[in-house]
């Protein structure tokens, strides 16, 4: 058997997933020994044209990170899908929309207006906006179309596996690559490199009783580093987030609540809905007025419960009637 052929690409992403791949350190050499990387913009000098020229399905595995934000992302996603046998959504953005997905709370035009005009740090006297086609004396320049909403990878192409995380833990990436190399793959559509159990399962913090009278913002209290965040009134998405980022979970280890980047556990489709359900259920009050007050302590439900998953959520984006 010849060496496997890999492609690694990023859509609307920060490059953190690529760094996570690099963070496999010397193990990267093992990957290189087992596989040829045909395309990886952050590291290698291959161009889109090189990909276009490849035969269909000539790439064995494509690791696609980043969300689909514009027509270029979509185009390349489709291109790579066509050329790849296995498409892996790498990281939260590809799987869920990720942080760039928060843009789905805003209008497309509002984003453009602020970035190119309204923002205090923008100096654009002529009010120039990026154009899809710009005519220059030499010809026409083309920029991709900026979509109305951020999409997840599987909203534009078929995805075979999901490798969650923002970014995915390097060790998990390595495990998955090894599984691919050894042909030891789970059924199509599976989430790999993560557990079926939610994060709480591997959380070392002590859980006593889940009854909360106040929700705090992290800067508002000194919290007990040994005890469950939720029980102290700090919103932690651990219960509705897949575990597996590391053991113990990495944010928890750093004394911060889980923010949900590993996405929903297997039986959940809308992570935010499930999390808000759990959070509201632990409110310890039977007084409608007090309940209202306690809930007001959660200042940004959407940004809290859908921080990484807005485009993947059932409602996907804000509605502007």
């Amino acid at each position: 058997m010849g060496k496997l052929k890999f492609a690694i690409y990023w859509g609307a992403a920060c490059g953190g997933c690529d760094v996570a791949v690099v963070d496999t350190h010397e193990k990267l050499l093992d990957i290189a020994a087992a596989a040829d990387i045909l395309f990886w913009p952050v590291a290698l000098d291959f161009k889109y044209r090189d990909v276009e020229e490849m035969a269909d399905k000539s790439i064995d595995v494509c690791l696609f990170s980043g969300a689909v934000r514009n027509s270029e992302n979509e185009h390349i996603a489709k291109l790579l899908r066509q050329k790849s046998k296995v498409m892996v959504a790498l990281g939260a953005c590809a799987q869920l929309g990720g942080i760039p997905g928060l843009a789905n709370e805003k209008r497309r035009q509002d984003i453009l207006d602020f970035v190119y005009h309204g923002s205090p740090s923008t100096a654009s006297q002529k009010g120039v906006y990026p154009q899809e086609i710009t005519s220059v004396p030499e010809g026409k320049l083309k920029l991709p179309k900026f979509y109305d909403a951020v999409m997840t990878l599987d909203q534009v192409v078929e995805v075979d596996y999901y490798l969650p995380g923002c970014p995915p833990e390097s060790a998990r990436i390595l495990e998955v690559v090894q599984a691919i190399v050894t042909g030891n793959l789970p059924p199509k559509g599976a989430v790999v490199g993560a557990l079926d159990k939610a994060l709480c399962d591997s959380c070392p913090r002590k859980r006593e009783e889940k009854k909360v009278k106040v929700f705090y913002r992290p800067q508002e209290i000194l919290f007990d580093p040994e005890r469950c965040f939720l029980e102290q009134g700090l919103i932690c998405l651990g219960p509705a987030t897949r575990g597996g980022c590391s053991d113990p979970p990495r944010c928890i280890r750093s004394n911060m609540p889980c923010e949900g980047c590993y996405g929903p556990p297997p039986d959940v489709t809308d992570q935010g809905a499930k999390m808000l359900s759990a959070v509201s259920s632990i409110i310890d009050s039977q007084d409608p007025g007090q309940i209202e007050k306690i809930i007001d302590g959660i200042v940004d439900p959407l940004g809290t419960f859908y921080r990484f998953g807005l485009p993947a959520s059932a409602l996907r984006k804000k509605r502007f009637p």
Binding site: G15, V42, K47, I111, F114, V115, V136, L141, D300
Partner: protein, 63 residues
């Protein structure tokens, strides 16, 4: 007129594209650097509680 398109620009963080136009002599007539990427952090950070920002903005660039 000949055009050289460097797409994408590689081995750096972010998305970029360069179009180079050569004249008949084969010299560079003009070159355009383009950034096809926009995510809009400036906007979706607006209105968010301050404590969430340190958890959002690192995702501007992860390299």
């Amino acid at each position: 007129m000949k055009t050289i398109s460097i797409d994408p620009i590689t081995r750096l963080e972010g998305h970029g594209k360069i179009e180079i136009f050569l004249n008949d002599q084969g010299n560079v007539e003009n070159a355009y650097f383009q950034v096809p990427e926009l995510r809009g952090f400036e906007v979706f950070c607006l209105g968010r509680p301050v404590e969430i920002l340190p958890r959002i903005v690192p995702r501007i660039c992860g390299v």
